[in-house]
């Protein structure tokens, strides 16, 4: 009898523990490196996570936008082009939900890279943004040289984007939405063509804001 009571107690405590740890913490994605440092004579191992490398592009207002414009903010990055008729409309239909949700929140930005450097000059991006009903610069649509954009997509955000002559539209790219935190770490990758994945991302963005709320720079 005593034993039974003990077991029941154990189970109850365990359950309490698991339900207590439902405060989900987002993982840090990408490359990582262990670095040893000496702190007060002891060897401490620190993990250094991949961060987004510096970048600089022109946005839809022909204003230069760089990594420092995203300091102290969380943001979502994606890759598209304005004449894309496959996955992009669906991606931006979903991204609009993100925009509506966090509209006016200075801690949240969206960064859409055009992978069609030839055609998507800032004035075209402006027109596109206007038709989507986007004002201001919370959602940046950026233009850069093909080399730099393809490089950034692969290295910074681990998303494939490149020109392909065999593709009917001339480009291959993936519809990922990449969530970046205030320290420029990658914290999530979501299929931007799927409404339920984007719902999940909106949730995770809130978690990230709660986690990093205090250390806005």
């Amino acid at each position: 009898m005593r034993l039974l009571l003990f077991i029941i107690c154990c189970i109850l405590t365990l359950q309490a523990c698991t339900s207590g740890s439902q405060n989900k913490k987002l993982p840090i994605l990408g490359e990582r490196e262990a670095v040893e440092t000496q702190v007060k004579g002891k060897t401490v191992v620190d993990t250094i996570y991949q961060t987004v490398a510096p970048f600089s592009y022109l946005n839809q207002d022909s204003v230069r936008v760089s990594n420092s414009d995203f300091d102290g903010r969380i943001y979502v990055a994606d890759f598209f082009f304005t004449s894309c008729n496959t996955i992009c409309p669906q991606m931006h239909r979903n991204m609009l939900k993100v925009y509506e949700k966090f509209k006016g929140n200075p801690q949240v930005k969206i960064l859409s890279h055009s992978i069609d450097a030839k055609y998507d000059v800032p004035s075209r991006l402006k027109k596109y943004a206007g038709k989507l009903g986007i004002e201001g610069n919370q959602w940046e649509f950026v233009h850069g040289s093909s080399d730099s954009i393809y490089n950034v997509s692969a290295k910074n955000y681990l998303v494939a984007a490149y020109e392909d002559k065999t593709d009917p539209q001339g480009f291959v790219h993936q519809g990922w939405f990449i969530l970046v935190d205030k320290n420029k770490h990658l914290r999530g990758a979501y299929d931007g063509t799927k409404a339920d994945q984007v719902e999940l991302m909106i949730n995770d963005m809130q978690i990230l804001l709660d986690e990093q709320g205090g250390d806005a720079k």
Binding site: S83, N85, T86, I87, C88, P89, Q90, H92, R93, L96, Y128, G130, K131, L132, G133
Partner: protein
């Protein structure tokens, strides 16, 4: 006399059954077109015009506005196959983006898509005839 009545009754009954069979044949064709058309819509059109036909803001027009489609009934087949690069007004909104052509669509594909969009999202345009669609598509350019 009695035989005659029976005979007439029989003929009428036959006629009725015949007509009904025809009608349901039409209904079956319609239902088949509608279902196939939905599949084609999901493959070729839904990205831009959305699953519920609502379009995307000012970028892609909705298919939920019953007036435009009704007024441009004769042009729909061409729009579906060859796209549209025009400035159109739907529900008070001006649209001037380009809709690309989908030239791989066959006449039967176009017909099925029209049956689907013409009878979804609030539209009630009834069925489309493939012969009619074929002759429209020939005249597009």
């Amino acid at each position: 006399m009695r035989n005659r009545v029976l005979y007439i009754l029989f003929t009428v009954a036959c006629l009725c059954i015949f007509i009904q069979a025809c009608q349901s044949e039409q209904e079956i064709t319609y239902a088949r077109y509608y279902v196939n058309g939905k599949g084609l819509y999901e493959k070729y059109c839904q990205n831009c015009h959305a699953p519920d036909g609502s379009g995307l803001k000012n970028l892609y027009p909705p298919l939920t506005d019953t007036v435009y489609m009704k007024d441009n009934l004769g042009k729909l087949a061409c729009i579906v196959k060859y796209g549209l690069n025009d400035t159109i007004t739907i529900g008070g909104q001006v649209y001037d983006s380009k809709m690309p052509a989908t030239t791989e669509l066959t006449d039967i594909d176009v017909t099925q898509i029209l049956v689907y969009i013409g009878n979804s999202f609030g539209n009630k345009l009834g069925t489309f005839d493939m012969k009619e669609v074929s002759s429209q598509v020939k005249e597009c350019r």
